[in-house]
Amino acid sequence: MRAIAVDAMGGDLAPDEVVKGVAAVSLQTNIQCVLVGDERRIQEALERTEYNPEHIDIHAASEVIGMAEEPKEAVRHKRDASILVAAQLVADGRADALVSAGNTGAAVLACARHFKVIPGIRKTALASVYPRQTEYPGQDHLALLLDVGATIRCDALELVQFAIMGSAYAKRVSKVASPRVALLNMGTEPSKGSPELIEAHRTLASMPGLNFIGNIEGNDLVRGKADVIVCEGLVGNVALKLLEGLAEVMVDMAGAAAEESWRWRLGMRMLAGGVERLRELADYTTYGGAPILGFENIFIKAHGRSPARAIANAVKVAAKAVRDGVAEEIATGLAGGR
């Protein structure tokens, strides 16, 4: 593996937290990273932290695309933006994968401009891992949901391709031998939902290489029924935000209840260990970020507010995806599905 290109200027806490995350990776692993952005600011941030310079290179980029900027305009006008330069490095073969916590739209456009789409793929998908209930010992406590916003509306073929890409990612990165793939729908029967969902169900059910288990409903999202859940971007994004919002509300409600009565406070104290475990499970910084699937190169999109830990994990996930040949697995899956 050559290196992971990291957009050092992308994200609310960039460049300091991005640099710290890469510095941590340089001390823990042999992964080579190229930090792309303002050379002086990156170097200053590096020198304030513990790092191993043998694993870090810096590539200069003079412009930054802010989190609130309009992606299309920004990509058009800021040609030396860190995200664009980083994507270019991957396209040129200087790096194998890209990690960014910056503006999602700009990052996707940068990839679309510089990366090649895997032959046969119609649309790329933004995937997200989230914690769910497990059904059997050893089951991964994370499920993969895609698409969560890259493609608002999809046709049946695109949904089928998302299923193939998600299955390949779960096989290679989560090491699930035969990931259970499901369609997110308004009923479990094959005839339920829009014509696109019905068509997608029919196609997926006829694919022998895919462990398709049928439709699941919203209440099964957080159970361990499926490892890969497929939906169009609009639905996926709403579902993901709903899960995040619910988790936050639960924590807030528990806190408020504990303030009302000493019995609740005592109960919360007794449950503290379990609550902490739950918090760890739901902590996005441990997952590293969401992959954009469908390009020949790997791109991991980290959360905009990513602290160093999340960036470090995103870099490790990117390296793992490259090492384990996710793009190749998708191409193979696609060839098998034709």
Partner: protein, 360 residues
Amino acid sequence: MARVSRKRALAVSTPRCSVYRWDLDKTYLKSEFDSMRQLVKIPFEKPEDKVAAPGVVALIRSLRAVGLAAGLDVRVYFLSASPPQIGKAIKDKLALDGIVYDGIVFKNQLHHLVRGKFRNLREHIGFKLAELLKGRHEQPPHAREFLFGDDWESDPLIYSLYADVVAGRVSEDELRAVLAQIPVDPQQIEDVIAIQRDIVRVDAVVRIYINLERRTPPANFRAYGPRLVPTFNYFQTAVCLFEDGELTVATVAKVAESLIEGSGYTPERLANSLADVSRRGHITAATTAALWQYLAAQRLLPPARAQRRRRRPWWKTLTAAVAEWMRSPNGKPNVAPPLPLDYRQLASELRGAKRHEVST
């Protein structure tokens, strides 16, 4: 004019003398004494069990070879806070590595033990400073010194203090106050004061190299000024010594080669190291380019990396330059702290760091 002539006459009549003083544990040797078990093992280690830090052997050999080839008087010394009881194993290890040296000093821990001075067993500043000053007496006044230590204990403070005492920048009262603040044993303070009185005051210490064995952030050493160079590996040290004129490009290549062949380094890792030391301002862009060209031709570095820089509009360049100028005091980036350094502040930081280590 006459003064210049006298200087020239001195340079012709006496060969230039370069003194290289090395700390042993964590600088020359990859000593592992992070746990009690490892500490107990050290006295029983055989010479062949001891491991030199990657690249250090090639570096010391190169320094001597380059100096001798130029007709210089080259002297290599080792200074260790380890007891003399393990001296034989260390001397045998140096012989095994083919290191020629002119002196080696160990700390007589038994002496402190017998006198009940238990604090002196762990406190090395007084001992090391005294030994360095004693060693200075043995050198010709014009001898230039290069000091090599690590980031584990107090080498940056000891070496900097030594450099400024020898240069006459630290008064006797100031030295006494700083050592008392650390705190060094009162008897040792008086020994140090007595030894430094007879020293010929010359600005002898050219550079202090600190091996970042613990990966301490380099910014932590800014207070020591540009005389002190923190390096992450001995390739970076070799590169800086090339900048100082102590090594040739061919000997830098030898150090790089030893790291690749003996320690599993790759050209990519070396390239990143070179770029890092260049960005930190310890070598010039011209030196970086020259080294890269030579080492890439030897296949020790990958071909020079192209930085794809787009041409910025003139107004952006101008605003960036003005912003940079406004950020840095006096319009100068990386302003060096004035000499002598603020040793009372450095000593108090050292005390704070030691207390923090004990508590964690």
